[in-house]
Symmetry: C2
Subunit: 241 residues, 2 copies
């Protein structure tokens, strides 16, 4: 039976061995929710980069849009920030979005040894679970966290995924049990449960409650973003089978 | 109001700033449970060291006993291993125990910047809570984990402590919320809750179920082990006030 382990922070990723495994990167508020939303709404591809400078330079290409967030806010001088609603606009359809965020893009770059990197969020939870069920490879769910610290919403997503795949995947890590327990506590009122947590509180202070509610919506999209070279693109049916 | 944060693994300790704070190190199965048991049962002092070699060399001194564990088992050539029952025997009363373990002693050495390091376990949970209430300093609970990975039992202890001190201490970290939620799920049947978790399962395979049951006993002892120089000794009433 393949394994499904949960890495609660990118700071712990060196304890896992991503080689030959599928890494699911999640940064619920809001990087990976944005990526899923974009690719589900006609964005051509998304290039995650780790610095503002790289984002700016790459974004000079024709047909490229820049998206940059630092500390929860849109970074100055870039086309869009980190709101999923920006990823639905006509301006981004058919375009390549070059994106850098505080936590999410870092998690992606640190998982580069993996056999495959895919992007998870509550918005495409069931699609991710189906994809992993078909692939039958060992999985590491990497929670982006907040500046290295673990956070609740990414852990809850990891727990939801582990809960769905329980029985088909196994785990020897307590983090998996923890995340499943927390998911079971939270699942009936995700927004209420999170409203008491520090990271969500921090973001609420930024006046993005609509973003948060959207990012906590389950299974709105079927897309599974997968890393191909430097870009995230929708997994094709051919690559799933 | 002072802060109480929870560091779920020694690998994350660099994200916290222990300076000026009290660090509570916990390694429920079994290092810190042993230390508390020993100091509550007449052991004179305990010197945690990080290598087997240091343990062996220091242990040559008169009146010193060596205790060494690796991968859950007693290391060969040392006086005792990592069972709390060994720390109650007549042979250790009045003695200095030099101890090295897979996870717990490492957590102690990595917290050396703290203003004060104390040793927590379920066995002295209320005593630790009272001590921290009196001191009114910022607190970091450092979970020893298992080879860098987070584990359930240390997280539950941290959650229990945070739960008791909730209202008198504040936290901006989601890890604190997580640990409190998990404690609330587990508290009515700690042994049953843990029996499904990987680290406890791993230890059960080592045939130490009596040790585990003992380490999950709440408030058997009043002692608060505190680091003075290189040694753990019982906190005196003078230092508490």
């Amino acid at each position: 039976m393949p394994t499904l382990d949960i890495c609660l922070s990118p700071e712990l990723l060196h304890l896992f061995n991503p080689k030959g495994k599928i890494v699911v990167v999640t940064d619920i508020l809001r990087a990976t929710s944005c990526m899923v939303t974009g690719l589900a709404n006609g964005v051509h591809s998304i290039i995650p980069v780790d610095t503002l400078d790289k984002c700016r330079k790459l974004g000079l290409k024709k047909g490229y849009i820049t998206a940059a967030e630092r500390d929860g806010k849109k970074a100055e001088g870039f086309d869009i920030g980190n709101s999923p609603f920006s990823y639905m606009e006509d301006a981004v359809k058919g375009k390549t979005v070059v994106v850098t965020t505080t936590n999410g893009t870092r998690a992606i770059s640190e998982a580069s040894d993996a056999k495959e990197i895919i992007i998870g969020s509550f918005l495409n939870l069931d699609a991710i679970a189906s994809y992993l069920s078909i692939k039958q490879k060992d999985v590491i769910v990497v929670c982006a966290g907040w500046k290295g610290h673990v956070n609740m919403e990414d852990t809850l997503f990891a727990g939801a995924l582990a809960h769905i795949l329980n029985g088909d995947f196994t785990s020897k890590q307590d983090a998996t049990d923890m995340a499943i327990h927390l998911w079971n506590l939270a699942k009936d009122d995700l927004e209420g449960f999170l409203s008491n947590c520090s990271h969500a509180r921090r973001l609420q202070n930024l006046d993005i409650t609509d973003d948060i509610a959207f990012c906590l919506t389950l299974n709105k999209y079927q897309v599974v973003p997968v890393m191909k070279g430097e870009s995230l693109v929708p997994a094709s049916l051919a690559s799933v089978a």
